[in-house]
């Protein structure tokens, strides 16, 4: 009996301990937010601790810390606590942190993930703050985070916009004229034919060319951003309508664009998705000199420069009717909806610091990983000098830039689209069947989220 009582006692004790632990955790959180509320009324000198999240990279971490230090010395009442991890882990952890209400007060979001959080009610609507504090015409890309209802959910941290990259040495070797700004996709294909080479050195326009042993592709091509979206849009097609809730995949324009791509892949002028798997990364063919051209965002200059390629960039080709399109991704600062009062104000201070101060913009631009958000800095010598020579092409592309039809279920519908269209790329099903199936499956994904 005594023994039994003892073990029950331990059991009760442990339950009490656990609940005590949980209770303290809760009250701790409450007292903190209470202090924040008081601080709001207390005036500017109130100390604020701001939790700032960003995905880290070896190239940029030191610079980020430098800018954080600068911000703290300008705002002595704000202490920044950083939370960073590599891209994939960062976003996975973020989801669970949001669930546990311990997410950062503001974080750097991949541009294609902003609506994922905005439409699920996690982010703060920045429209009034932007209207009040930022002159929209001074910046690139504010509108790339605007939703179908005209609300802004983020302020760009850096812009990625795509152009056509070409390897000059390969063009010289094959005696092909460099791409011009007047090229159409058909001009590109004609050049690609002269630039695609097999392992015995024969080009694709030679009848002895062996397409099973390609050692150099004319153009490398991968998924949406650096692949099909540009072609579809410049042929007058696209994926979603302007409400971003309805698929417009099954159209004659898309069929025409798809025929262009499939023909190129069947002739191995472009690698098929399964060809690409032979490379360590989908981004590898151009910097590893296995492709003469690529559709590439600004960040790809880093690898091309590191590989010491003799390359340049120009505008992406036009469609048959002269239409142009350049995909854009605005990686952005977003603010947690739960960051209220002094914390919310401090978070906005950071966003303003980043976007408005020339010094900060220049420092970040010096890393060469994104086009600066502030137009005056993007147009300065600091940005435009250096390799590639024609950096102006990135800025000129803003004239016909568009987003990747990004919405709350973006990665899912892109997956469904790829599943179907990749079969057409491999020559397993005809293009019109791929479009029809993609249309049905993408619409299902959209309906499941938007028609709830």
């Amino acid at each position: 009996m005594k023994r039994k009582f003892k073990s029950w006692g331990t059991f009760l004790l442990s339950i009490t301990l656990v609940s005590a632990l949980l209770l303290t955790a809760c009250s701790d959180g409450k007292s903190k937010s209470g202090a924040g509320g008081n601080g709001d009324k207390g005036g500017k000198a109130e100390k604020v601790e701001l939790k700032l999240g960003f995905y880290s990279s070896a190239q940029s971490d030191a610079k980020m810390q430098e800018l954080i230090d600068k911000f703290q010395s300008e705002h002595p009442n704000i202490t920044i606590k950083t939370e960073s991890s590599p891209y994939n882990q960062f976003f996975q952890k973020l989801d669970t942190q949001i669930a546990a209400e311990s997410a950062p007060d503001l974080w750097l979001s991949d541009g294609v993930l902003v609506p994922k959080y905005a439409e699920r009610g996690v982010l703060k609507d920045l429209t009034p703050l932007i209207e009040k504090d930022l002159k929209k015409d001074d910046y690139f890309g504010l509108d790339f985070n605007k939703d179908a209802n005209g609300k802004y959910w983020g302020v760009p941290q850096g812009i990625q916009i795509a152009v056509l990259y070409y390897n000059k040495d390969m063009f010289d070797e094959a005696k092909v004229e460099y791409p011009t700004e007047d090229w159409t996709w058909d001009d590109l294909k004609a050049a690609a034919e002269k630039l695609t080479k097999d392992s015995t050195g024969k080009y694709a326009n030679d009848s002895a060319f062996d397409k099973n042993k390609v050692s150099q592709y004319g153009l490398t091509f991968f998924s949406i951003t650096e692949g099909w979206m540009t072609v579809l849009k410049s042929y007058g097609g696209g994926v979603l309508d302007e409400t971003l809730t309805k698929s417009v995949i099954n159209t004659p324009e898309n069929k025409q664009a798809l025929d262009w791509i499939v023909d190129g892949m069947q002739r191995e002028l472009l690698p098929t998705p399964s060809d690409l798997k032979s490379f360590q990364s989908n981004m590898a063919p151009f910097p590893s000199k296995a492709a003469a051209m690529r559709i590439g965002i600004y960040a790809r200059t880093i690898d091309a420069n590191a590989a010491e390629l003799n390359y340049d960039v120009t505008l992406l080709p036009k469609g048959p009717d002269g239409k142009r399109f350049s995909p854009v991704i605005a990686n952005s600062w977003v603010i947690n909806k739960k960051a209220e009062g002094a914390k919310g104000d401090a978070a906005w201070e950071w966003v303003k610091f980043w976007a408005t101060e020339d010094e900060v913009q220049k420092e970040w631009a010096s890393l060469g990983e994104a086009v600066p958000v502030k137009k005056s800095v993007a147009n300065s010598e600091e940005f435009l000098s250096g390799k590639p020579e024609n950096k102006q092409a990135f800025l000129d592309s803003f004239e016909f830039a568009g987003t990747l039809d990004v919405n709350a279920v973006w990665s899912e519908w892109v997956g469904k689209f790829n599943d179907n269209i990749n079969r057409a790329f491999e020559g397993e099903i005809p293009a019109d069947q791929a479009l029809k199936q993609a249309d049905t499956e993408v619409q299902q994904v959209l309906d499941e989220f938007y028609k709830k």
Partner: protein
């Protein structure tokens, strides 16, 4: 002494189990609190062709993997249970892949099966056959993954069998030899029945582990590059755990993903019970 265990059990085992059971009956996107939906997730699951495809792929993987690995590991264990020179070296060599990470194995197998640069295709071309797409071929992907998984896992199962073999008393073999039994006869009539307890353990362990196969397929079908391409090509290697991961973590349908987990649990539970019942027919305990 029981307190730390209880805390662990209540918070990390019972708590998470009950939470996932609750999520499986709700609409839960991780970012917002779950909403009760009754059986919706389960109804959707049973009407979803991708689920059936993933279930079939999982079964196919298991049916190929478990017998192949068990038989080969047993043969290997018997071979390495003899008095050989450099015995420890051989055992060690078979155990090395077990402790290597899947990422390393991925690079090794890529050197062999890469369609452009691997030796498998250079060899096929040399002997006049057509090159294959290997892991990018819908029909080859699962058999190839199974072969690689057997190669990696066999050392571990071999060690379990070795332990079992060392418990077989040598006088039984001596008696059989006096009766004139040959090597094969001894293996079939003495070794196999006397280590059936070990074999049973191996079967249960490897069935459960293949049903939960994730890392290998995720890494080897390109998940590290792009989570949505894991399980390819064209979902030919999409197993239940990869499907669960994509639904729950990539597409934020944690309620649906929890339903997949519970269905997986029920299947494993039933399979284990069936194996337990069958063991009476063939497993001998001393």
């Amino acid at each position: 002494m029981v307190t730390p265990y209880l805390i662990h059990f209540v918070v990390f085992v019972l708590g998470s189990l009950l939470a996932s059971l609750y999520f499986s009956f709700s609409d839960y996107d991780i970012l917002n609190p779950p909403k009760w939906k009754g059986l919706d997730n389960y109804t959707k699951l049973f009407h979803e062709p991708v689920f059936w495809k993933a279930l079939w792929n999982t079964l196919y993987f298991t049916i190929l993997f478990v017998p192949l690995q068990t038989v080969l590991a047993l043969i290997l264990a018997v071979a390495l249970n003899q008095k050989l020179r450099a015995l420890k070296l051989f055992r060690l060599a078979h155990f090395l892949p077990v402790i290597s990470s899947w990422t390393v194995i991925m690079y090794v197998s890529d050197a062999i099966f890469n369609p452009r640069f691997g030796f498998a295709n250079s060899f096929l071309i040399k002997i006049g056959l057509d090159p294959q797409k290997w892991l990018q071929d819908e029909h080859l992907v699962i058999p190839l993954l199974v072969i690689i998984a057997v190669w990696k896992g066999i050392g571990y199962i071999m060690v379990i069998f070795l332990a079992g073999l060392q418990n077989v008393p040598s006088d039984v073999y001596e008696a059989a030899e006096i009766d004139g039994a040959g090597t094969f006869r001894k293996f079939l009539n003495i070794t196999v029945p006397l280590i059936s307890g070990t074999t049973f353990l191996v079967l249960i362990l490897s069935t459960i582990s293949t049903f939960q196969a994730f890392e290998q397929i995720y890494v080897m079908t390109g998940g590290a590059m792009d989570a949505s391409s894991a399980g390819g090509p064209h979902k030919a290697s999409l197993v239940l755990m990869i499907y669960l991961y994509q639904e729950g973590f990539s597409f934020l349908r944690m309620g649906y993903a929890s339903a997949i987990a519970w269905v997986l649990f029920v299947i494993l539970f039933v399979l284990t019970v069936v194996q337990m019942l069958l063991q009476k027919k063939w497993v001998h305990y001393e």
